[in-house]
């Protein structure tokens, strides 16, 4: 039992740093660049994406023995799209403001290769339990990186944090940080730092 718990724990945590989807595998960059300029957008996006990863991993894992190999990608896409529509409608109904701000990027969760990657490489060959843990771990890793990036971009770009003014009126906003290229710089710095602390094993 202890061994199983440990294994589950490892599945859950490896997405955070060691196999972080954004910083390590450099997947899902498009949405990372687009929405990470405000912390609230980042949080909404990471919750939505994590939900989609976990539920599609679970569904794919449950259906793994019934999905024909040749059309598996198409089936995954349908499953993922279903959950993305759920997230999109939910945001539109309850958080119209956030929905408006991150607009098309919610729909584009479908194309986030992190999700497809988890379905293809893990959920399609594992039982539902580990698949949920794996999806949750990777989702947390994605959220973690989004939060880290917007923790730099929002104060520099707007002088705010979660919409509250944190830097005084003396602060001149860095417009570059609001735009996607600013995310490139911040993302690059994080990748640099992480690779220096945890060098890749050859």
């Amino acid at each position: 039992m202890a061994e199983a718990t440990e294994k589950g724990f490892r599945l859950l945590t490896r997405g955070l740093i060691k196999d972080n989807p954004t910083f390590r595998m450099v997947l899902g960059i498009c949405s990372t660049l687009a929405v990470s300029n405000r912390m609230t957008n980042s949080l909404a996006m990471s919750l939505g994406t994590t939900f989609v990863i976990v539920s599609s991993s679970l569904s794919v894992s449950l259906l793994r023995n019934y999905i024909p190999k040749r059309v598996r990608m198409a089936v995954y896409t349908v499953i993922i799209a279903t959950f993305v529509v759920c997230v999109d409608l939910y945001l539109k109904a309850f958080y119209p403001l956030i929905s408006k701000q991150i607009g098309p990027y919610v729909g584009l969760i479908i194309t986030n290769c992190i999700i497809m990657g988890r379905c293809e490489s893990f959920a399609s060959g594992n039982k539902p339990g580990p698949s949920i843990l794996d999806g949750l771990g990777v989702g947390m890793g994605y959220s973690f990186s989004l939060i880290l990036i917007s923790a730099i971009r929002e104060p520099l770009g707007f002088g705010t944090m979660m919409g509250y003014q944190v830097l005084g009126s003396w602060w001149t906003p860095w417009i570059l940080m609001v735009m996607p290229p600013g995310a490139f710089l911040v993302l690059g710095l994080y990748i640099w730092v992480l690779r220096t602390i945890y060098p890749e094993k050859k």
Binding site: W170, T172, P173, W174, I175, L176, M177, L185, G188
Partner: protein
């Protein structure tokens, strides 16, 4: 005198070996190189072919930029000196840190970047912005690629474009008229403190200087043309080192005579610029200013002589250099005339920097077909 310097340097070497400050050895090596050492073999461009070494080469560029820098002080006040000084302190500081961490020599490329960058700035830019700009430019324009010789873009222009996009209000809408009479050698325009407490909402207002648009912005807004004579001598508003055409030409010719800069790039750049500006002015004189005015205003001459000739970020084949200059000229004319920006030199050069190795590749594969299997 020479022996004394040698002796004290040796003393420092011996002392440094034992002390905990050993990582600072590159600093001492750089000092040594200024006085004594010759060139070592380079691995990446700029390659050297004669006795002149990388250090001297870069120091010559600094010499060549001196007239423009002095003109900046004369026209816009002592504050220009602070701008240059801050650029040097931050830029060289970053360079020393990277050299110490990488255990490499300090490269003199930073000396050039740190003088060229402030010369492209508006005279009353807040001083902290200068520091931020040079920091970001050297870090992201040069060091992350591996230091001097490995950068894709001209680091001075990366610094400038960073500020240009981050703080457009300060970088484009904020110019002062040059000083009258004895000029800036006896005046300090703009307050040092006000530069630090500024916010974008209230733009810096320099002490006794009068705000004025640059000739190019003027043309874009009203179609008014500044007199050519003023443009030639530099008595117009603009960036610190960019207004005086004659002094830029002086420095540029110095670079070409000492063969630090290849004459092909400035010639093809300015030549193609003149031709295209002439053609487009003929087609649509409302959008495209006359040739003479365009040639002497804005950063064209400065860019052509000091920025486009960077041996690292430009192409190294002769044919490639011609091509590079020609397209730079065309792009500059088009950006100035058609886009929303008043000035296009920076964009044109950075844009062509992307393609410089591709251009080299094409030239080599065309010229040396048989050698390349």
């Amino acid at each position: 005198m020479k022996g004394l310097i040698r002796k004290s340097l040796d003393l420092c070497y011996g002392w440094l070996e034992k002390s905990p400050l050993k990582p600072l050895k590159p600093l001492l090596n750089a000092a040594d190189g200024f006085f004594f050492r010759g060139a070592e073999v380079t691995e990446a461009a700029p390659h050297l072919r004669d006795g002149i070494n990388l250090k001297r080469m870069f120091i010559f560029v600094v010499f060549a930029a001196m007239p423009s820098a002095l003109a900046g002080i004369y026209l816009f006040g002592w504050r220009a000196l602070w701008v240059i000084l801050i650029s040097y302190v931050v830029g060289l500081g970053l360079e020393v840190v990277f050299a110490a961490v990488r255990k490499e020599e300090i490269s003199e490329g930073a000396f050039v970047t740190c003088i060229l960058f402030p010369l492209t700035l508006p005279p009353n830019i807040p001083l902290w912005m200068v520091g931020v700009g040079i920091f970001m430019g050297i870090l992201f324009g040069k060091e992350v690629f591996g230091g001097t010789g490995h950068n894709i873009f001209n680091p001075a222009l990366v610094s400038r474009i960073f500020l240009y996009i981050c703080f457009p209000a300060v970088m484009t809408g904020n110019w002062i008229r040059p000083m009258e009479g004895w000029g800036g050698f006896i005046k300090y325009s703009g307050d040092l403190l006000s530069g630090e407490t500024l916010i974008s909402a209230s733009l810096p207002q320099a002490g006794d200087a009068v705000t004025a648009a640059t000739p190019l912005t003027d043309f874009k807004a009203t179609g008014e043309l500044a007199p050519l004579w003023d443009l030639f001598w530099g008595n117009v508003s603009g960036s610190l080192g960019e207004t005086s055409a004659i002094l830029i030409l002086l420095g540029g010719l110095f670079l070409i005579i000492t063969r630090i800069a290849d004459w092909r790039i400035p010639l093809s750049y300015i030549g193609s610029f003149v031709i295209f500006a002439f053609i487009f002015h003929g087609i649509n004189p409302e959008k495209f200013a006359p040739v003479g005015f365009q040639l002497l205003s804005g950063g064209l001459l400065f860019g052509a002589f000091f920025m486009a000739t960077d041996p690292v970020s430009g192409p190294f084949t002769k044919g490639g250099r011609w091509f590079f200059g020609i397209i730079c000229g065309l792009l500059t004319v088009l950006i100035r005339g058609v886009s929303g920006y008043a000035e296009g030199v920076m964009f044109a050069i950075l844009f062509m920097n992307i393609f410089s190795s591709l251009i080299d590749e094409l030239v080599l594969s065309y010229r040396y077909k048989e050698f390349r299997r």
